[in-house]
Structure formats: C-alpha cells, structure tokens
Subunit: 148 residues, 2 copies
DNA sequence: TTGATATTGAAAACCTTTTTCAATTATAGC
DNA sequence: GCTATAATTGAAAAAGGTTTTCAATATCAA
C-alpha cells in the first residue's frame, strides 16, 4: 500500500538520470527538479522560477529554461498545452497515457486505456488520412474542486 | 452534388456576419477573410499577413491580430494548437467536431462522431474528476502527402 | 587537490503580441 | 450624393516571453 522508504522517488531518479547522461548535478538543477517532480500541476517556466528561488536564492530564469530542455530531452518531463498556457511542464507520462486536467486548480492526472482505435480507423476511411498519432486531453473538476 | 452558384460562400457569410454585428467591412478585413475562409490549413498571424498583403498592399500585422480576434469572437474562426505553433487559426467547427491534421502539409479536416463517452465515464469513475470537456486531435498524412 | 569543461546568471538580443495615437474610412441619416 | 460621427487603420512604441552571448563559477573525473 505505502511505498517502502527506500523506493527511489522521482527527485532522486531524475538527478540520477541527469548524472548518468553526463550532465552535472547542481544546486539550481536540484531546486528545479524538486519542484517539477513533486508538482501535481503542470507549471510554467516563471512559476518554476518563482518557486525555485525559495529553494535556491540565486536561481536564474535562464537556468529554468535550460534545465527543462534537458529534462524533456531525457523524457522525464513533458510539455503540456493548457488553456492557461502552452509552455507548461509536467512529469512525463508512463507509456501511452493521456491527461485529465482540473480547470479550477490545474491538477493533472494521467490515465491509460483510451478507446479511440475504432474512431481512428473510421476517420482514416472517411478522410483518406493515414493516422499516426493523437492528442487527447480531458478537462473538468478534480474531486477537491468539485466539493467546494 | 455541386453547390449552386448563388449559395453563399464562407467569404460572403463572414463579411455579412461582421456587418450584422455592427462591425464595418473594410478592405483589410476583406483580404484577411478571403484568405482564412479559403485556407485548407490553419494559418498563423504572420502567414495571414504575408498572404494578405498580396491582396491588399497596405495591410498591417496589427489588423490581422485585431480581425482574428473579432472572427473568433463571432465564432467564425477557431484557434488551433499545432505542433508548429499554438496560435494558428482555422474556420470554426460546425457543431461538435474535431480535427485531423496532416503532419506534412498541414491540411486540416473536421470529423464528427467521436466515441469517447465510455472513456470519459471510465476516467471520471477512476479519478474522481467531473469531466466537462475534451480536446482531441488526430495527426497523420493526408491522402495527397501519402502518395508522394 | 587539480584542471578541463559544463554550467551559471546578467545582460543583450530576439520575436511575437498588445497598446497608443493621429490619420483615414465606412456608413447611417439626411 | 453629402456629411457627421464613430469605427478602423497602420506606424511606432511598449510589453512579454524566450534565446543567445559571455565572463565568472562550480562540478567531478583523475
Ligand atoms: Mn491514446
Ligand atoms: Mn468530442
Ligand atoms: Zn482542482
Ligand atoms: Zn498550445
């Protein structure tokens, strides 16, 4: 039920991944990783910068951009298109998953098991397109925001 | 099979719609409407500006932004999030429809009859979200680009 | 501990979108 | 067809957000 204490958390996993890829583990990167890995919402660069400075005083916004670039390259983080902004970042999906997003607080959750194959084929037949990918996002109120 | 010659086309419809809403029909607006209404692809402001100047020499980029704003407000045009850009504009959907987009030439087609209700309910049950909207876009190669 | 080099933040550059403003233009009413 | 009024226009400036440049600093393999 509960995770064993020694299970590596995202924070450690991400730092290890940076390290193993030859990138250095620095104080600004630790601050950024800490924030993004633990956020239940997709965050924009400026939000990460603001929250990040609480952990590492001298953090620069440029470093936020550069670090997100690397985390994305390593597949640890993914960009999310949100009505509130198109450059939001969230921990990456685990395989083929899509997002449900709370329109009130921004909370993001992945789900799997979409059932759009039939639809995909029908559209392919009707339009003549050869379909290769899809974007799907659901929006609504999370359970917290619903009860308020 | 073919549309009668007197069937109002999008160009005329949009100009009428502007007029009926109290907006004035001007040369720059005609140029912009002409281009966006007839485009098979979603276009960005700068593309519209470039193409528009071919029709109306003195067109300003500001006017493109302002006109798109009004066309969107009137429900004639909608914003499309594209991998190539998040501020692309396309004639609006007719009711509840979604897009298939060609990753090669950008061609956009609407389709209807999505079948994601079961999925929506399953996700609602599993996550506790009350789902109100969804975004769905399919990507692939259009029939022209496929045969090349 | 040291040295090669990756990383950093500040500042400048860049690019896109919005605001400001004086001149122009559409259109309703005559 | 004119005219008066108010909407619309494009240029220029301002505002935002992202990227590039660069000299100083910090990491980490040896
Ligand atoms: Mn899917
Ligand atoms: Mn739908
Ligand atoms: Zn919520
Ligand atoms: Zn977007």
């Amino acid at each position: 039920m509960t995770k064993p204490d020694n299970a590596p958390n995202l924070y450690d996993q991400w730092l290890d991944s940076l390290s193993e890829s030859g990138y250095r583990v620095t104080a600004p990167r630790r601050a950024i990783v800490e924030i993004v890995a633990n956020s239940p919402r997709a965050l924009g660069p400026l939000e990460i910068y603001d929250q990040g400075r609480a952990e590492y005083r001298g953090l620069g916004l440029v470093t936020v951009y550069r670090t997100l670039e690397k985390l994305e390259e390593l597949g640890l983080v993914q960009r999310v298109h949100h009505p509130q902004g198109c450059h939001m970042y969230l921990r990456a999906a685990d395989g083929h998953e899509h997002l449900v997003l709370c329109t009130s607080c921004g909370k993001a959750e992945y789900f799997s098991g979409d059932n759009i194959d039939k639809l995909t084929h029908a559209v392919a037949r009707k339009t003549g397109f050869e379909i290769r990918e899809h974007w799907l996002q659901l929006f609504g109120l999370c359970s917290d925001c619903k009860n308020k």
